[in-house]
Amino acid sequence: METSAPGEERHRGTIEVRSLSKVYPSQDGPVQALSEVSFAVADAEFVTIVGHSGCGKSTLLRIIAGLLLPSSGSVTVRGRGVSGPLSDVGMVFQRPVLLKWRTIFDNVMLPIEMLHLPRQENRERALDLLKLAGLVDFRHHYPAQLSGGMQQRAAICRALIHDPSLLLMDEPFGALDLMTREEMNFELLRIWSQRRKTTLLVTHSISEAVFLADRVIVMTPRPGMIADIIDVKLPRPRMPETKLDPRFTECVRMIGRKIGLLYI
C-alpha cells in the first residue's frame, strides 16, 4: 500500500479526474467510451455514477482503479497520479466472485495474504467486518452455501479488509432481486457509516444512486460524458422513509430528465 507523507494527508481518499477520455479500437473504427470527464471526490464522500448501460461507467471505474489506462487525461488518487493497479482500492463487482474453494472467512482474508500483511492482527479485523456485515456465524461456510445477497456482503468485507482509502463498486447489486437489493442498500450504508471510506458506486438505478449518495454524477452515453453532478441534500442516516421525502422524489425526477427518461 502507498504511504503518504504528512503533507499529503489532506488528500487522503480524494479522487481527482481531469478531462479523461477513453477510445477503444474496434472493427468499425474507434469507439469513444469516455469524453472529457472531469470531477473530484472529497474524503469520506459517497458518490454514485448513474447512466444507461454503455455510457462508460465501468470503464471510468476501471481507469480510476488503475486497471485500464486512459487515452488522454489523468486520474490522481490522494495526490498521486494513477499509472497501474492500486492496492489502496477495495473493489466490488456485479458478481461476488468469491473463491468457491475458500470459506467466507478465508475469502475475506485473501487480500491480506496477497498483500503479505500480518495475518494475526488482521484476523480480528476480518471478524469485526464479518460481524458488521452479519456474516460472522457463516464464516466457516463455503460461498455456495450462502444466498446471493450474503455472498455480495462477503465481497464487500473482502474489499474493506486491507483498509483501502477508496471503495469502488461496479453495479454491486445489479445481479440481485429487488427486495434483496433494497436490503443491501441499507446494509451498505450501515457498513459505510462505520468505515467512512471514500466510495464511488456505479449503478443504473436512479433511485439507488440518490438513496446512497452525497452526490450523483449523471452520465450520458456514446460518448460517455458527464451531464450533471447533483448534490443530494438528504439527511443521514437514510431510512426507508427517506424515499418518501419530496426532496428524494424531486431529485430522482430531475436525474431522470437529464438521462432522458421523459415519462417521469
Partner: protein, 255 residues
C-alpha cells in the same frame, strides 16, 4: 446425488436377474462352454484358480496405476507450461494433438522395441493413452477464470505465483478431476493393449492364452478382473476428489 437403499436394491436385483437368465439360457440351449460359459462355470474357474488371477491382476493394476499417475503428472505439467508460455504452446500443442490422433494400438509394437517386453512398455502405453484428456481439461481449468477475479489479483498485486497457486490451480481442480476419471478408465485399456502385443504377464496376457486354448471361462474371469481393477482405480479417483475438494458437494446444493 444421494444413493438410497432402493437404488442399491434395484441394481442388485437387475444384476442377479441377468446372471440367472444367462445361466438358464446356457443350460436350456446346451451352449458349449468354449462359446459361452455359464456364470456358475466362470465362478468355479475364478474360485479354484484365484492365486493365478490375483497375481496377474496385481501386475496389470501396477501397470495402469503407475501409467495413470505418470499421465497425471505429465498432463498437469504440460498444461501449466502451455498456459504460461506462448512459445512452448506453439511448439508442443500441435504435436500433442497429432500424437493423440495416432491410434495407440499402432504405437504399441514400437514401444516394445524401445522399452522391452517388461512392465515399462505397458506403463508407457497406459501413460500415452490417458494423458491427453488431462492436458486439455487442465488447460481449460487454468484459463477459465472470471475476469473480475483477475482484476482483483491485479489490484492486490498478487504476482504470477500467487495468482497461480491461490486462484488458477484451485479453479482447475474440478476440471482436473473430471479428466482423471476419464484417464483412470483409459489407463486400463493402455495396460491391456501392451500385454496383448507382447509380454508374459498380466490379465491381457491371460486373455490371449485363454483364447488360443479355447478356455473361454478363463477369458471371462480375466475380463471381470479387468473391470474390477478399472472400478477400483475410478473409485480411488473419486475418493481423492472428495478429499481434495470438500467445497464441491455444496455446489449442486444451491442455485
Amino acid at each position: 446425488m444421494g444413493i438410497s437403499k432402493t437404488d442399491i436394491g434395484t441394481t442388485t436385483i437387475s444384476i442377479i436377474a441377468t446372471l440367472a437368465v444367462w445361466e438358464l439360457l446356457t443350460r436350456i440351449f446346451h451352449i458349449p462352454g468354449f462359446i459361452l460359459p455359464a456364470p456358475s462355470a466362470i465362478f468355479i474357474e475364478a474360485v479354484t484358480r484365484y492365486p493365478l488371477y490375483l497375481y496377474h491382476s496385481w501386475i496389470t493394476f501396477y501397470e495402469m496405476v503407475v501409467g495413470f499417475l505418470l499421465a497425471a503428472a505429465v498432463g498437469v505439467f504440460l498444461a501449466v507450461v502451455i498456459v504460461y508460455s506462448r512459445i512452448i504452446r506453439n511448439m508442443i500443442y500441435p504435436q500433442i494433438v497429432v500424437l493423440q490422433i495416432v491410434p495407440k494400438v499402432a504405437i504399441a509394437p514400437l514401444l516394445l522395441i524401445w522399452a522391452g517386453y517388461g512392465l515399462t512398455s505397458k506403463v508407457l502405453l497406459a501413460l500415452l493413452v490417458s494423458f491427453f484428456p488431462i492436458v486439455v481439461n487442465m488447460v481449460t481449468g487454468l484459463v477459465a477464470i472470471e475476469e473480475e477475479l483477475l482484476d482483483l489479483c491485479r489490484i492486490l498485486h498478487s504476482g504470477r505465483w500467487q495468482e497461480f497457486s491461490k486462484v488458477r490451480l484451485p479453479n482447475a481442480l474440478p476440471y482436473l478431476f473430471s479428466s482423471l476419471k476419464v484417464a483412470s478408465t483409459l489407463s486400463v485399456i493402455g495396460a491391456v493393449i501392451g500385454e496383448f502385443v507382447g509380454g508374459n504377464e498380466g490379465l491381457g496376457h491371460l486373455i490371449i492364452i485363454a483364447n488360443t486354448e479355447l478356455r473361454t471361462s478363463m477369458s471371462f474371469v480375466s475380463l471381470f478382473s479387468l473391470s474390477i481393477l478399472g472400478f477400483l482405480l475410478y473409485g480411488l479417483v473419486i475418493l481423492a476428489e472428495r478429499v481434495c475438494m470438500p467445497w464441491e458437494r455444496w455446489q449442486s446444493a444451491s442455485g
